[in-house]
Amino acid sequence: MIEQAAYKRRWRPSRYWLAALIGGALFAVLVASSALSIALDSIPHRASLFGLPAIGLVVMATVFGLRAFRDREPAVRGRDLMVAGVLFGLGICSWLLVLDVFTFTQAAGPGVAAVSALACLPTTGFGLLVVRRLDRNEKEPWRLVLVAAAWGAIVATSLVIWAEALWDEGLGTRLVPGPALDVSSAFSAGIFEELAKGVAVVLLYLTMRDEFDDVVDGIVYGAAVGFGFNFMESITYMTHLYALYQPEGTSLALAAAAGQWYQRQVLGLFLGHATYTALVGAGVGVARQLRGLHQRLLAIASGFLVAIAAHFAWDAWAQFFPVSPASPLAVAEVHLRILVMVGPFTTVLLLLLGMGLHVEGTALARQLELEAEAGRGAVLPSEVAVLTSPWRRLGARLAAMARGGPVAYVRLARLQTAQIHLAMERWHRERQETDAPPAAEEALRRRVLELRAATASG
């Protein structure tokens, strides 16, 4: 009775079916894409050899999947299915990575591709670190942030390659060079790339509801997907230009590749794919906290629309007004045009992030106070002020480390994280946004008490 009163739709498995449907459709597209890549000889057949580990992973996933169907114990079956799913996902990703490497980097050779990747790793890592830290109330787990980035780098790039090629073949080749062709290319990039990246955020929203709380989380996941996509795209452009100019001399080829690196990994690191896909994430994040299905769909559609528009606007602008290398103001123009065209979208995104952080912070403070007032021991009144401030949380952890070393630091960090999870769960329950049974909140509380006991004993 209490559960029914608390939740109008207590258990909503339909979102898992929807996620499975989207995943199945994407898998079919990726299989078709792989087949086309090999059939049209854009991928050398030796790729099959490098794909053997992927086949091994899929075989192992099949074994675990079959074992899951044989198991009668639900817990064992669930675990086997989880392992099968992870292995299958790894297999698909590793195969796509093989295809990506051959498709995007073979012109310049593996050495140049490796150097380009190494050059892009620190900047991409920096971007991920900054965006994750912006979520100052409750940071998203690294595993999901990295999965999002891997989707952007491997899956999204594989999804768009044939979509954009088919668009170009169907429409681009019929258009005369000039504004119409530029607009067509900008539409193609905006629509296909944002859909391919944004679907990752939608899947996280559908399947990882516990780690997808609000607009802030949506922005973090969206930006992570964008960083991943930007990583692979940067390598593609760097290796392509290096291969084009290499016959003219290594120094010219290096300069061309370095120019791409600066434009995409410095200037466009935040003002580019990260902004666009974070806008998708913002829409999905807003939908996370809306009640009605229509409202949610509108919010998600709005996120996609503004992301596609931002991407389209930049691509069209860059092609309409190319910067001439001969211009004495070329360097200033390169910087100004990205600020003028992408800057406003990034500013709107930062406003959404700021508002989301404010709402989230206020709600967490209130829930922590309520939990402390309840006197169940999970949150003490004296801890509320510390838990609501990232700097004071850090200060408390550093003080713990000074007293008990790194182990004390880690234990307190785990305790603080669990306490914030509890407050977040309370917030979602209050807003009727959770589909976990009420026992989940009690389990979180028990977990906090266990961690507190461990912290105290240490």
Binding site: G178, P179, V183, A243, L244, L279, G283, L305, A309
Partner: protein
């Protein structure tokens, strides 16, 4: 979020308007030009030599021969090579087809300034019909590959 979505929709509609402004419907005339072939080209003598080919070393200039006489004489046409970065790399016209037909019919490509040879990759030749000084229709298209190499 809805306001942002509406703003996004407005930007995309503006893009569509620009697209239709520069690619209006009903520009097809049904005309088709014929590219006879692409040949190795001597820029000094301004002549082609050898058989038609689809692949060239990067140090070998090349030119396409277009049959301008197959087009109505008053139609304003031109042809442009685009290199592997989609930048223009040599053109003839726009001019009435009759005037171009009076010449040798060759469309040579040019090595990008500052480089010793062509950029590797696909070079595309577009034969275009012009109206009001703007290209409006593709009458023919051909492509050749410039090989990687010294």
């Amino acid at each position: 979020m809805l306001a942002l979505g509406a703003a996004g929709l407005l930007i995309l509609v503006l893009g569509l308007v620009v697209f239709l402004r520069f690619a209006p419907l009903g520009q097809r005339t049904g005309l088709a030009a014929r590219v006879i072939g692409v040949y190795a080209y001597d820029p000094v003598q301004r002549t082609v030599a050898g058989p038609a080919a689809t692949r060239f070393p990067r140090t070998q200039p090349f030119a396409a021969r277009v049959s301008w006489a197959s087009l109505p004489s008053g139609v304003v046409v031109g042809a442009t090579w685009y290199d592997s970065l989609q930048d223009p790399a040599g053109s003839v016209g726009p001019a009435p087809a009759a005037r171009l037909a009076a010449g040798d019919g060759l469309v040579p490509e040019h090595v990008p300034p500052g480089l010793h040879g062509n950029l590797p990759g696909t070079y595309t030749l577009l034969v275009l019909r012009y109206a009001d000084g703007r290209p409006v229709e593709i009458l023919a298209r051909t492509a050749v590959v410039v090989e990687h190499g010294p």
